[in-house]
């Protein structure tokens, strides 16, 4: 009789303090996410409320960029959209491969060696250089000799992106387990082959994450561009020669004007920039998910 009536094994979570701690921790994590949502919602609400009225097909595809005093509806922001796309794109093409290569060096070839340690440390230091100092740097090194151009702007943005890409890629490469590498070596692969075909694909998700964040930041930067691209009102298709403009600089110069047209254009440009960058990020993440070898 007694044996049949024994209570079933208690499979619930541990009782008492441990369980409460767990619950508190989980709710704190959810709370943290809410803390992230609130400012995001605020900002997006402001940008959409102020900028949505400016968006129209002619705003997105038309040009030239009209003077500040002109009300909304005349001209468009295409020169700035084009400028942002090509300058940021060029910066990404320069910074991302170099950054990933640098991270490969530091992690795969350098190890604990002195040069790798110095590169790692200096990359951290370089992330702290203010964007305006980068702009001034490129101004004195490049613009003084070759004039204002989209290329100079791309260099400035690439200098901003490079340390971020190196450090984040390096962290991701560090996380690839050693047995993977060892197994490849055991099969007779050379180091470059191991790195390119085994380690890199294993870390690609994280590397792309870091690169996307760096690119998103670069697309929104104003200060370095103020010293390197001047401004134009009509599209300058040649990114290597001649002054150019970008959405970020247009947002800044228009928002600091009292005219209603300029204000509307500024917020419209802000909304456009956020939308473009966000769409590109989603697309990049989706594309990467297809390439990721190891599922998360």
């Amino acid at each position: 009789m007694a044996a049949m009536d024994q209570p079933a094994v208690d499979l619930r979570e541990p009782a008492g303090w441990r369980r409460s701690k767990n619950r508190i921790a989980t709710s704190l994590m959810v709370l943290a996410f809410v803390f992230v949502l609130i400012p995001l919602g605020f900002v997006l609400f402001t940008v959409i409320a102020k900028g949505a009225s400016a968006i129209s097909w002619s705003f997105l595809t038309g040009g030239p960029i009209p003077p500040n005093v002109v009300p909304i509806g005349i001209g468009g922001m295409w020169p700035a959209i084009y400028g942002t796309l090509v300058i940021t794109g060029l910066a990404a093409v320069i910074a991302v491969p170099l950054g990933v290569l640098g991270a490969i060096y530091v992690n795969e070839y350098g190890g604990r060696g002195a040069l790798a340690q110095v590169v790692r440390f200096m990359s951290d230091v370089m992330t702290g250089v203010p964007s305006i100092v980068m702009g001034l740097f490129i101004f004195s090194i490049w613009v003084l000799h070759f004039g204002y151009s989209g290329l100079a702007g791309a260099f400035a943005l690439a200098c901003l992106m490079l340390p971020v890409v190196i450090r984040s890629s390096e962290e991701m490469l560090k996380l690839v387990p050693d047995p993977l590498r060892e197994a490849s070596y055991a099969l007779g692969a050379t180091k470059s082959r191991v790195t390119l075909t085994v380690v890199l694909p294993a870390a690609i998700g994280g590397i792309v994450s870091g690169a996307l964040l760096a690119i998103a930041r670069a697309a929104g930067e104003t200060a370095p561009l103020l010293f390197t691209i001047l401004t134009v009102t009509a599209t300058n298709a040649n990114v290597f020669k001649g002054a150019n403009t970008a959405l970020s600089t247009q947002i800044f110069t228009n928002a600091t004007q009292p005219y209603l047209g300029a204000q509307a254009r500024a917020w419209g440009a802000a909304l456009t920039l956020i939308a473009i960058a966000f769409i590109l990020m989603i697309v990049a993440r989706l594309v990467t998910a297809r390439f990721t070898r190891y599922s998360r």
């Binding site: 030239p64 009209p66 003077p67 500040n68 005093v69 090509v86 060029l90 093409v93 613009v143 003084l144 070759f146 004039g147 204002y148 151009s149 075909t197 694909p201 103020l226 001047l230 401004t231 134009v232 009102t233 009509a234 300058n236 298709a237 040649n238 990114v239 290597f240 020669k241 001649g242 002054a243 110069t253 600091t256 004007q257 009292p258 005219y259 390439f291």
Partner: protein, 368 residues
């Protein structure tokens, strides 16, 4: 499996490279815009009247000129469709630096080249072309008071923090009969360096002498209770949203923001309200130096507004190519001619005709 991955990566890499090359190729084959300061392409006729000039002119500098430059550039496009002008703003100091470095063809500056910058212009003759005149208003936010009058000494007291409330005896003395509340005064000032600050403080130095102790510069150490904001519109915004605030805002911004501004006592003793007319009156009476520099603040003249300032476009007298010289002459000539008609609608004052004529005559000094 591995082969397919490698092929995918190679394909992606090749396509990126191809895209980059295509972009570069087709963009360099289309509008080739040479960098500012170097030679302009295309046929340049010697007269500035023809509409067949081509090339690019780059300018940067004073943000006071920015609105005017934008309007003029847009309007100039119909006069010279193949001549592109770009004006980047960025501050008078930056403009002068750019001009000294040769990265721009002309620089906008609210003040003549200061002595500590003279060395970067060694060996070059710089021509000053005055282009606009504008008043700096004393914009305030005080309900019930619409016709505030201020004398320079009172302004100095307010902005140095000595006068703290609106019903201070000094303000009362300027405004006999007005009903001034006891609201505390909130100062609205510039957080960024600016030619507006420079000229406003120069006015205070000229008009009040030792009563103004904070000096005259593009950047001033204001009292710690002052609210700093970026740009004229930033200051306008602070004034508009803070009851009891007073700030110095240029006229076109003050008008566009719908602010109330005070009449200021001028050198002749009358309280004058800021307007394009009173600014032009101030410019009429300036002591003009041979290189066309002057200071329009605190000038005599019965109808002159005492806090008026000005901006020049600076160019090198000697241009690297004939095309550059012709293009500059055409654009500057436009600014001094038809461009002046654009000014009243943006709240700026046109140059007095005598000054304008002298500036136009100076155009001939641009050679190559």
């Amino acid at each position: 499996m591995r082969l397919r991955y490698r092929q995918q990566v190679t394909a992606a890499g090749v396509s990126v490279v191809a895209l980059a090359l295509t972009l570069g190729a087709c963009s360099s084959s289309s509008s080739s815009s040479p960098s500012g300061g170097s030679s302009a392409s295309g046929g340049a006729s010697s007269s500035s009247g023809g509409s067949n000039l081509s090339g690019t002119l780059n300018g940067s500098g004073s943000t006071f000129q920015l609105t005017f430059q934008q309007e003029a550039i847009a309007a100039f496009k119909s006069a010279q469709p193949n001549l592109t002008v770009n004006y980047g703003g960025g501050g008078s100091g930056k403009g002068r630096t750019d001009l000294a470095a040769g990265t721009v063809n002309f620089a906008g500056s609210d003040s003549p080249i200061p002595s500590d910058e003279a060395s970067s212009f060694q060996g070059k003759t710089i021509l000053y072309f005055p282009v606009i005149i504008g008043p700096i208003t004393m914009a305030y936010n005080l309900s019930g008071v619409s016709n505030l009058k201020l004398s320079p000494a009172t302004i100095a007291g307010i902005f140095s923090g000595k006068i703290k409330t609106w019903n201070d005896p000094a303000i009362k003395a300027d405004n006999s009969g007005a009903n001034l509340p006891s609201t505390a005064i909130t100062l609205a000032v510039r957080s960024d360096s600016s030619g507006t600050t420079q000229n406003f403080t120069e006015f205070l130095v000229d008009a009040t002498g030792s009563a103004w102790s904070l000096g005259s510069s593009s950047t001033i150490k204001w009292p710690s209770s002052a609210r700093a904001a970026s740009g004229n519109p930033g200051v306008a915004q602070v004034v508009k949203s803070t009851p009891g605030a007073i700030g110095y805002v240029d006229y076109s911004t003050a008008k566009a923001s719908g602010l109330t501004f005070a009449s200021v006592k001028n050198k002749d003793g009358s309280f004058i309200a800021p307007s394009p007319e009173s600014a032009t009156a101030a410019a009429d009476a300036v002591a003009l130096k041979p290189d066309l520099t002057f200071a329009a603040v605190w000038q005599g003249g019965a109808n002159a507004y005492p806090i008026t300032y000005q901006s020049w476009d600076l160019v090198n007298a000697k241009q690297p190519t004939a095309a550059d010289a012709a293009n500059l002459k055409a654009y500057l000539g436009y600014l001094l001619g038809d461009g002046q008609k654009l000014l009243p609608q943006i709240g700026l004052a046109p140059l007095p005709s005598s000054l304008d004529q002298k500036a136009v005559a100076q155009l001939d000094k641009i050679t190559s």
